[in-house]
Symmetry: C2
Subunit: 131 residues, 2 copies
């Protein structure tokens, strides 16, 4: 009887484990983009980023969050906190017409760009914060 239980558990595990591994590799992809913007082009840049973020969230199922801010003390320093469903969703994102249009629009506005892959410690929110 105990051996039967053991065999049942092993068979169940064989079915369950691959799905767990797949879920792991399919985890959300998080990134922080840090940009420095040309000060005389800052307003144009902010408008382009706003339009881009709104479009990406609206039309792409794999773009979960784009929170873009600038530093109060250094308004040309912009950070974007980005969450994609997974790496595939990000790779899809950077080939979309709206992303390519955004990149073309801002290419002369962005002085530096640093992309930092990040891993969640805690993602806690009261409710959706979206404007």
């Amino acid at each position: 009887m105990r051996l039967q239980y053991l065999i049942t558990i092993i068979i169940m595990a064989a079915f369950i484990l691959p799905e767990k591994v797949s879920a792991q590799s399919n985890s959300n992809y998080l990134r922080i983009a840090k940009l420095t913007i040309d000060s005389i082009k800052l307003e144009g840049y902010k408008e382009a980023l706003k339009v881009h973020a709104e479009t990406a969230i609206r039309v792409e199922s794999g773009v979960l969050m784009l929170y873009a801010v600038y530093e109060k003390e250094h308004p040309t320093h912009v950070s974007v906190f980005e969450i994609y469903a997974n790496v595939d969703a990000y790779n899809f994102h950077i080939k979309t017409p709206h992303f390519l249009k955004y990149k073309a629009t801002v290419q002369d506005m962005v002085k530096s760009l640093e992309l930092i892959d990040v891993v969640p410690i805690a993602l806690k929110a009261k409710k959706q914060i979206s404007n």
Copy 2:
């Protein structure tokens, strides 16, 4: 007749404007905290931050979002994207027992701390991303 309109508008403005100013000063307070953690105390720090973020979001009405991440390439580099209902909510937050306990717990774990006030450009999300 036109003068009556003008007077009406001025009177209405007198009632409406103070509320607008109040709404402005009551806007969400956004910040990015950047920390460097002692590498041998990293796991303890992450656990303390996780517990703290969960508690703050659960018990404080004015703490809207605490998204804490570490850099994949530099795991001791931690960023927390913070949104409070307003500055008063933040000032309340830093006097709560759970915040003071968190600060006491991590005081020997944190090597550096930089607090950066930020202003939203676009806060776009598909749905609540919370773990």
